[in-house]
């Protein structure tokens, strides 16, 4: 029971964070990113790809759960995996097609933030994996490091995509 209450609290905090960010971004006087028409089309395709990725991963998880996946990984971790897969697909596609950042958007701070979140979560997740505390009664548990691992992996992939894109842009032949 305490674990369920803990999960509920995590969910409520997450929801509160999302609502706060949405409220702040709507009322913020900070410069919002501006995307041109081609970028908007690319982002629309990226959202579509992300949507189908989430659907596909959920379907795969459903099939695997009939073979006892729930005895290895808890449900919350599975859901988080599906969500993170969708977010990563969206981000990597947009980065590859130059539609992740808006026009004239100073992205240095954003990249540092992704680096910090990715590395922090990945280190926490790997640490928990190595010392075994990620498992509770033999099941990889969301609140015991699995979330850190998944989020860290996702952000790390996005960071790698950003760095590769940056190096590609530098070596691009001028017009």
């Amino acid at each position: 029971m305490p674990e369920k209450i803990e999960m509920m609290l995590v969910a409520i905090m997450l929801l509160a964070a999302i609502l706060t960010i949405a409220f702040i971004s709507k009322n913020s006087k900070l410069k919002m990113q501006h995307f041109d028409e081609m970028q908007l089309l690319i982002r629309a395709t990226a959202y579509r790809n992300a949507y189908f990725t989430v659907i596909g991963v959920l379907a795969a998880l459903m099939v695997l759960s009939t073979f006892g996946l729930n005895n290895i990984v808890d449900t919350a971790t599975q859901m988080c995996t599906a969500l993170m897969a969708g977010i990563t697909v969206f981000a990597v596609y947009c980065i590859k097609k130059d539609a992740f950042f808006g026009i004239d958007y100073d992205n240095k701070g954003y990249v540092y933030m992704i680096f910090a979140i990715g590395v922090f979560n990945l280190v926490m997740g790997i640490w928990r994996l190595i010392d075994g505390t990620i498992r509770v009664d033999g099941v990889i548990t969301f609140t015991h490091g699995a979330s850190n691992l998944i989020i860290g992996a996702g952000f790390f992939i996005v960071l790698v995509a950003l760095l590769l894109k940056k190096s590609d842009d530098k070596s691009e032949v001028g017009e």
Partner: protein, 66 residues
């Protein structure tokens, strides 16, 4: 199909892709994609490009051979 007319109009004005993109309020990659023929711009963007390059729509975007 590549838009060589646009590319040469841009070159005659001595604009880089970046400069033209700024004038049209789009990204450099969009201008690059239009010139390479990888993207068909909307009429509004076509008009913005024509204004920036002092050309007409026909001169830049009409395919005479078609």
């Amino acid at each position: 199909m590549k838009n060589l007319k646009m590319k040469s109009a841009r070159a005659s004005k001595d604009y880089s892709q970046e400069q033209l993109a700024k004038l049209c309020n789009v990204s450099r990659q969009t201008i690059n994609a239009i010139e390479k023929g990888d993207y068909n711009p909307t009429i509004n963007l076509c008009i913005a490009i024509c204004k920036a390059l002092d050309k007409t729509l026909d001169e830049l975007f009409w395919d005479v051979e078609a």
